[in-house]
Symmetry: C2
Subunit: 342 residues, 2 copies
């Protein structure tokens, strides 16, 4: 652990820090002109598959913003694609699955991930990135529920009707699906940490569509399996979703060291729900980054203030950077966070 | 008030009922084959403008499902269209605004609504419907924030970035916009009640995108103005939004008699947050209506059970009926609700 003394890792571990660490979900992406230039019209999956390009994209926001952590440029469906599930990232839409998951027979399409054979490009990207970085690299994966929602719906969804219907009508099959996806995520995370990542984030972006009861019964066991499956590696585990006000306690209990929070709940209130044994990450509304600077600055100051009343605070947005964000605003956010609470 | 003794009105007023009343948001819509036949390829706005057709569509779900209330077939942007703001309902997308709201100059485009001149078709539809109905008709309007989000974004949005940016950077202008939209909503609701509607629902569908602090400061005053603006009419006022776990108390305080709740929070817990002075409406997940009947029935039974522990319960979905819903399932839900808690 070369970064044990970094502000990011220390905050994740609820150790005192000199300055609050900050990074941004989707910091490597379309808000950056240098990203748009490099991507040009190269398909997303082809970009991920090219370690030179993917590592450069991963490094861009570290140089531009001075953030305290990098996050691997990849996508939560990359492991699915790597084991031969037909899935593509379609511009302006998101992940689209060729043949959606419909029945137990489809379980056989989810074979185990063999990292050296299936995702050598991801391993190479992590190695290239960490050779250059002077801040920790965060590896990540999708949580079983969120990945399953794409598999079952065939793409992004507003209501998750097929997913919830399968969850409730065939809970045993749904559980087996999530369990397989948990194995996939564990292998994906372990490969990233093995290659040099210093922390991991589990993205359960859409878990907030569920009630607490459904989350606890049908979803939490698989997410807990992922988090437990990397516990021995000793790296901080961040657990994030959107609209999770009712789920925050459970998302911590699932085995996280840090729980990511969106902007709907004040950070200190979120921390109360999560409990004293975990740090929190968040929670600037990415939409507000499109407002004039004084608005952003006041919001950052309020979040820093509330962050002082938590056991440990990693500053972040409450969801990913919006493509229309002015990179200059994010650079100023980093600067302001590093100045610390008033 | 010819329906003072109806189960629906009584439940809204927290009076004892023999059977729990039930209706469904978007019950008049694409899930019904008779609706699809009648709409055919007629544009949405043309359908609303034709009282014969709009009243028939309003009545269809009452006949088909045996629900305890009808809701006017209309849309929250109808008053905007009626005062000449170019807005259309585009199939598969939603409301689309020709010239989005950008500055104070755009306020002048929001003239007061003169119901007799601007929405005679709505008044006629309400009269036609109430002449035939033997259950109460619910009138409705959009809450100022949700209507403003369409005006500012120009259409449906995932992040409400422009709306939030305007709200925070020009709070005075944003407040004036919401205040004008409140006046529009009051006039729209009063016209519906004047023509025979027995209750009203204020749809703040997207308020759940806001933090409690933003809601209280920038949004609640205008919604409270709408609810106060119809208080003298003596009809129950329902206040609804999606993902509002952090806002439920405020949505009640805004002046509602009934607060609508989505499925993310158990109904009895929602009622605790709302307080003893208001009834609750909800909260079956519309996505679950696509699951097999035993799943739906168990969920309905649980909601009925929790509803008994509230001051008053109107059964409903937690959001609108999904177009793929089997109407037979909704008919069975009504039957099951009327059987009452176990």
């Amino acid at each position: 652990m070369g970064f044990d003394d970094s502000a990011f890792i220390r905050a994740c571990r609820r150790q005192p820090v000199d300055t609050v660490p900050v990074w941004f979900m989707r910091q490597a992406g379309r808000a950056l002109p240098e990203y748009r230039r490099l991507r040009a019209d190269r398909p997303f999956m082809a970009t991920v598959a090219d370690p030179e390009v993917a590592s450069e994209i991963t490094l861009q926001p570290v140089r531009r913003y001075g953030v305290d952590a990098a996050i691997l440029f990849s996508d939560i469906v990359v492991p699915l694609a790597a084991i031969g599930v037909g899935v593509d990232i379609v511009a302006g839409r998101g992940p689209v699955v060729d043949r959606p998951f419909r029945s137990g027979a489809d379980l056989d399409r989810l074979r185990p991930l063999e990292p050296e054979a299936d995702i050598p490009h991801v391993i190479d990207t992590v190695k290239l990135v960490t050779a250059e970085l002077d801040v920790p690299l965060i590896g990540f994966c999708g949580a079983p529920f969120t990945v399953a929602s794409y598999l079952i719906e065939g793409g992004p969804s507003r209501d998750y009707a097929l997913t919830k219907s399968l969850m409730r009508s065939e809970p045993e099959l749904f559980g087996r699906l999530l369990d397989r996806l948990a194995d996939l995520s564990v292998a994906f995370l372990r490969a990233q940490v093995g290659a040099g990542a210093s922390a991991v984030q589990l993205f359960d972006s859409w878990a907030g569509a569920l009630s607490g009861a459904d989350y606890r019964r049908h979803v939490m066991p698989a997410s807990a399996k992922v988090l437990a499956g990397v516990a021995d590696l000793g790296v901080p585990r961040i657990h994030f979703g959107v609209g999770t006000g009712e789920l925050l306690g459970l998302m911590g209990e699932a085995g996280a060291d840090v729980v990511g929070v969106d902007w709907r709940i004040p950070l200190d209130e979120a921390s109360r729900r999560i409990g004293p044994d975990r740090a929190v990450q968040g929670n600037l509304d990415p939409a507000l980054c499109l407002a004039p600077w004084p608005v952003v600055e006041a919001e950052v100051a309020d979040i820093l203030d509330r962050g002082q009343r938590t056991p440990g605070h990693v500053f972040n947005l409450g969801h990913g950077v919006l493509p229309d964000t002015d990179p200059e605003v994010l650079a100023r956010v980093v600067e302001r966070v590093h100045k610390g609470p008033a």
